[in-house]
Symmetry: C2
Subunit: 167 residues, 2 copies
Amino acid sequence: MNHKEAKLKFIQAWGTMGTNWGINRAMAQIHALLLTAIVPLSTEDIMDELNISRGNANMNIRTLLDWGIISKEHKPGDRKEYFSTKKDIWQLIRVIARERKKREIDPVVKLLDELEDFTGNNSKEEKELRKTLTDIKNYTSTASDLFDKVSRSDYGWFVKTIVKLIK
Amino acid sequence: MNHKEAKLKFIQAWGTMGTNWGINRAMAQIHALLLTAIVPLSTEDIMDELNISRGNANMNIRTLLDWGIISKEHKPGDRKEYFSTKKDIWQLIRVIARERKKREIDPVVKLLDELEDFTGNNSKEEKELRKTLTDIKNYTSTASDLFDKVSRSDYGWFVKTIVKLIK
DNA sequence: TAAAAGTTTCAGAAAATATTGAAAGTACGA
DNA sequence: TCGTACTTTCAATATTTTCTGAAACTTTTA
């Protein structure tokens, strides 16, 4: 396998992985393409490389921009927008932590807050329900804090704490 | 809101959350139903409570059993299978860690292993690609170790390390 | 061992998600 | 202000995922 094949395989596979990560195929592929590109690419470049439509390319580029994962630049004398991404994976992880927290954790916290104070007579059944909900809430808020921590910490923190943690 | 309403709302919402967690609605709802039930429930009970078909109920119950999240029991003089779940949330988190690692992390590790040794002439472009892939691999294997650690650790470990970590 | 009671499977239907492509919108330069 | 070069939007379409329900299978009991 030469490096072009490796790159192609990486882009294809990253698209499939994206699916398991709750990120759509096109978005993950665009990101992989930019991650392995040596120069910024235009929307057309991306469309051609990945064989996707303009609408699809545009929409997913916008989302990646919104998330702050890729950035836009202009070449002098050219109206097109060109896109590139920092090759800093820790930065990427921080963004993922932020977005997944938003999607996966925040709604649980919101739900549990709403459920917290149901009224009742403190029967055994009610006590059990209260306990279950409280337990879930405790773990969830810990997870929430952990994701916040990751999304706000620098690489030094990662090495110092996470890497040690798993030893 | 009384406790029946709270419970119903929890089950409904847990189904929706499941979606964001990569778990299908029915499976998440069945789990929520058992988590808040005070007695074991049969397939029919589950079908009735959640308004889902027998096929759907059966299939998702099997998956929950496979994952070790719920368990099966029999009542004397009754042929039906009854299902229940431990109300231990930490245990649930460990299973989730195991399953998500399997789905989200292991395939990345496998991919990166395959890509690792592409051949080439060590041009600048190739060196960059190698570096990017190596970086991803390092973070991924740390994540892999972390998920393993979670799925194998007891509640004491959680309190001692994770809770401190985020302070 | 036959009927009854329960469980599993799976092809087709329905629902949810992602993608296309063409029309509408915007910004720039002459 | 017009034409050109792009970007954005969105209704229609395609794809993927989930759900249904009935038939096939298994286990138990009489």
